[in-house]
């Protein structure tokens, strides 16, 4: 299991990458404040498990699972060094693979069905492996999410759904848009075990998702974790944020997930305050340099691919028939 110190380091690195992107990329979607959800939910998974993070946090999950920040940054800028060689958006689909799901358009909700299908594949081929899939409070209202949850419950699939509720779908508050008392009640109505947790407490997220993962590994089917957090930045860079007050944002700054864990670790004597500040500053400086350097690579030539068929992209995939 990931140590508490490693969770803190992962959150610091996630924020450092995120904040460097805020400085260098006008198209970035800031994830500050939500780190506890995506770091905690994906911390203890193995290489055979499938991850399908929400777009806000997906680069952090890739970092956590070993992708280099250089590759991730190239993906966000769409340059040659990216995982897709500049063929697709690395901010929402950084490291697609058989065990890693990203977004393949700007449409929200479909990746929840992909993760559910991956769980079906795991159930058929790799007993004990699980899929973890997160999505925002906005995506929770998408029809395909309801269809997918029903299928997962019906087929008792090994998947953990994490609603990363940052309280805003762009501008629409989840308090308005999520009808009913709790979004988790939608899962309960399907017979899916559901919990509601403090999404700014990384230890609570890890504990809740960990229990759900253990249930799925044991063959007990899907679970649902509703993690309440807060989007500290706008939906996008230069979001005028006319839909909320500075006081509301300031109140949530008090509950910053990184500061909270840092305080706890300092209290337990695991972390020295000065060392913590030094590590944090060094991490931010390191990622600032990587992102700034990646931004300068946009003049490298990329060979275009002129067919969308798999066998044209990779000739060895030509059908054996």
């Amino acid at each position: 299991m990931t140590t508490e110190l490693a969770l803190w380091q992962a959150m610091v690195e996630a924020r450092a990458f995120d904040q460097a992107m805020c400085r260098h990329n006008g198209h970035w979607h800031e994830a500050r404040g939500e780190e506890a959800v995506f770091v905690g939910a994906y911390a203890d998974l193995g290489p055979d498990d499938v991850v399908a993070p929400h777009f806000r946090g997906t680069c952090a999950v890739a970092l956590q699972r070993g992708t280099s920040p250089e590759t991730l940054a190239a993906g966000v800028f769409g340059t040659r060094g990216s995982d897709s060689g500049g063929h697709w958006r690395g901010d929402i689909c950084p490291t697609p693979g058989p065990r890693s799901i990203g977004m393949f358009s700007g449409s929200l909700g479909t990746s929840v069905s992909y993760a559910t299908g991956a769980a079906l594949h795991l159930a058929r081929t790799s007993p004990g492996a699980v899929a973890v899939c997160s999505f925002g409070d906005g995506t929770a209202n998408s029809g395909i999410v309801a269809e997918s949850l029903n299928l997962a419950a019906m087929l008792a699939l090994p998947i953990v759904y994490v609603c990363q509720d940052n309280q805003y779908a762009t501008s629409l508050p989840s308090a308005v848009a999520l009808a009913g008392e709790r979004v988790s009640d939608r899962a309960r109505a399907l017979g899916i075990v559901a919990t509601d947790i403090d999404g700014n407490d990384v230890l609570a997220v890890r504990e809740a998702v960990g229990q759900a993962v253990a249930r799925s590994r044991a063959g007990a089917g899907p679970s649902f974790v509703h993690a309440l957090t807060y989007r500290m930045g706008g939906h996008y860079m230069n979001d005028p944020e006319t839909y909320r007050t500075p006081e509301e944002v300031a109140a949530w700054a008090e509950r910053d997930p990184i500061a909270r864990l840092q305080q706890l670790l300092v209290g337990h004597g695991v972390l020295d305050p000065a060392e913590a500040e030094a590590h944090s500053a060094a991490t931010h400086a390191r990622l600032e340099a990587i992102v700034a350097e990646a931004k300068e690579r946009d003049d490298e030539e990329i060979t275009p691919t002129v067919s969308a068929f798999a066998e044209d992209v990779r000739p060895e995939l030509r059908s054996a028939s």
């Binding site: 499938v50 995982d83 897709s84 060689g85 063929h87 697709w88 689909c93 697609p96 693979g97 058989p98 065990r99 799901i101 393949f104 358009s105 449409s107 479909t110 929840v112 069905s113 992909y114 993760a115 559910t116 299908g117 991956a118 769980a119 079906l120 594949h121 795991l122 058929r124 081929t125 029809g143 395909i144 269809e147 997918s148 029903n150 299928l151 019906m154 087929l155 691919t305 067919s307 969308a308 068929f309 798999a310 066998e311 992209v313 990779r314 995939l317 030509r318 059908s319 054996a320 028939s321």
Partner: protein
């Protein structure tokens, strides 16, 4: 060699692939003990249901296809029995906009080997006739097959299941339970290859689905008048075999494209665009299109009959084109 209907041939192809490859599974509505709509999965539940490889699904078309895309990316080879082609519209984001883009977007690191089966066209049902063919053809990376014979149905279904791309197999409801014919399970037919169904010298008729059968009947009528029409069955509409259609029309000197699909976008429009893709931007032979009007498929039996090109319509179009050409020559 066994004699089969198209429907039986498709089920046999699915069964043979499921027996050969454990990564293949089938999901769809009413494909359990019910045996599939119009017997589309007859016997598969009995053969593979206990292995969890025949999944009787709720009415969740988007999630059926979405989960199949996800399972395919993870390593399975899913087949979705979507019942009717009109339901395809409910699935386009996971199937076409996204699923068909994955190989390109990942440079082949991830692929979506997925088959979607859908019954299409006018047929014994009152309703469900919308085939949405043009919609499917609008997305790069998606293949679309449309068999018209038991042999093609068997071989194209096997090719579709083995393909690395998402493939939609459109099963025409007026052909599915037609005459039985010999099926050779060893015969391989690649996706994207058209076939000449009838040799002719005087003009070429290119068609797909039910229109192939009607074109052949029209050709028989025309033969009585001394006009020999060559009939080309597209078999796949994506990729489209423009080369074979062009070669035939260049040989006969005239082309009629007959479609049951809507005008605007679809096989006829795509074929014309392909034919015009020459150094001088012209074909060298006249081209006529015979298609339904740009309206939804009407309900009244008489209106539905009038909506789809008939044998008489095709024969008439051939005569008109021939007389126009003679007029042009003498003018």
């Amino acid at each position: 060699m066994t004699r089969m209907t198209m429907s039986e041939a498709i089920v046999a192809a699915v069964a043979d692939e499921m027996a050969a490859d454990p990564s293949v599974y089938l999901i769809g509505q009413d494909i359990g003990v019910f045996g599939g709509p119009m017997q589309s999965a007859k016997g598969l539940w009995e053969a593979f249901g206990a292995q969890g490889r025949v999944i009787d699904a709720p009415i969740s078309e988007a999630a059926m296809v979405g989960t199949a895309v996800g399972a395919a990316m993870a390593g399975s080879r899913p087949i979705v029995d979507l019942m009717f082609a009109e339901f395809l519209a409910l699935t386009m984001t996971p199937l076409a906009l996204e699923g068909a883009s994955v190989a390109f977007r990942t440079r082949g690191q991830v692929t979506v080997p997925l088959v979607v089966r859908a019954k299409c066209g006018v047929g014994p049902h009152r309703g469900h006739a919308e085939s949405c063919v043009g919609m499917l053809m609008s997305f790069p990376g998606l293949k679309v097959a449309m068999p018209t014979t038991p042999q093609d149905a068997y071989s194209l279904m096997r090719s579709a299941i083995r393909d690395a791309n998402p493939v939609v197999v459109l099963e025409h409801m007026s052909l599915l339970h037609g005459a039985r014919a010999e099926v050779d399970p060893e015969l391989v037919i690649p996706l994207g290859a058209a076939a000449v169904r009838r040799d002719g010298t005087d003009l070429t008729v290119v068609a797909s689905g039910l229109m192939v059968q009607r074109a052949l009947r029209a050709a028989a009528e025309l033969a009585k008048e001394g006009v020999e029409a060559e009939v080309v069955d597209l078999r796949s509409v994506a990729p489209l075999d423009v080369g074979l259609a062009r070669a035939s029309a260049e040989r006969t000197g005239a082309l009629i494209v007959v479609e049951e699909s809507w005008p605007g976008s679809g096989p006829a429009a795509a074929l014309c665009a392909g034919l015009l893709d020459t150094p001088l931007g012209r074909t060298g032979f006249p081209v006529r299109l015979l298609q339904p009007p740009a309206t939804p498929v009407p309900f009244a039996a008489s209106l539905e009959t009038a909506f789809v090109p008939s044998v008489a319509d095709i024969a008439h179009a051939a005569r008109t084109l021939r007389s126009t050409m003679r007029g042009t020559v003498t003018a």
